[in-house]
Amino acid sequence: MSGIFQRISMIFRAKTDKALDKMEDPRQTLDYSYQRQLELLQKVRRGVADVATSRKRIELQANQLNTQADKLTNQAQKALEVGREDLAREALTRRSGLQQQLSDLQVQHAQLQGEEEKLTRASQRLQAKVDAFRTKKETIKATYSAAEAQTRINEAFSGISEEMGDVGLAVQRAEDKTAQLQARAGAIDELLASGALDDPTGTAKDDITLELEQLASTSDVENELARMKASLGAGPAAAPQAIEGQPSPSGAQPPPSQVAQPPGLDAQTPQEYQAPPAQDQEAPPAQPQGDLR
């Protein structure tokens, strides 16, 4: 087999050889490589965490979009109830726009999940190889002469370098993909944060809500007016009573003097009349009057 894959393989090998050539002391090669392996392992793990974070963010956004879609369904329902088919149509149109976004998110979610699984696997493979390399490194250091060690080192080194090249590519790809998706996710976040996914005015409430609220408040006003008219028609005397009731706290001042009078008018119950003013200032005017008459 030749052609394209041979070329890819040769590029990998050329890079490995170049990295090896930089080292003069075999031990230095081993230790340096091991260091790089550990660094890469850390990087892969960070990559897995990053992808997982992005995935969760997308899940969160999908939930929010679902909530919005439900809200629009409710709005459509309400609009129909008050006979506004045009508003209902508008709400449903927007909902279908949201559903488009939702299915986009689902595709992204699947992509991220795929990346996450690949990176997790890559991390496991690299971990196993790093462990194997560490064992081999110690064996090589302990057992072989410098010349033999060089050959063994080259074997071990090229084996792990290839894996590192592979994993390095995987991390890079995952980083690129998450960066792309995060940019798109950021745009959706902004829309969601404004609470106005499709509202050109950018106000906190979307125009369908506003219009429904206007309809609702208009009918509220009508209802209130009707209620007031009804109460006015039922008993004109009721209103003056309510008005008189309000100044009564300030009108509560005279009663004590009235209260002081009863003892003079009726000496039989002086104690009864002195006690109420201390307890409740509003009560006395009614009680003395009632008692007096």
Binding site: G3, I4, S33, R36, A122, Q127, K129, S158
Partner: protein
Amino acid sequence: MIVRILNEGQWHLTDEAVQALNAFDDAVEQAVTAGDQDQLTKALHALLDRIRATGTQLPDGSLEDSDLILPDADSTLEEMRQLLSESEEGLIPG
């Protein structure tokens, strides 16, 4: 012969099995030259399926050099070109 599928791991293939892959290699190369993503994906999937079916996977802890390195099944044309451009840096972090 040991073959690495990028992002997946390494497989051991007999020489006969490798010979049988030549046709797939040509299909991939043609797709890249033609710039046809669908064809590339199809050719790569066929090739890699074949390898998984005829080869034995090496354990994670083995430290062996691959004779051939193949791209990921979902590689894009751009990724293929990147792989092939030698100027690309950071392919081997070691």
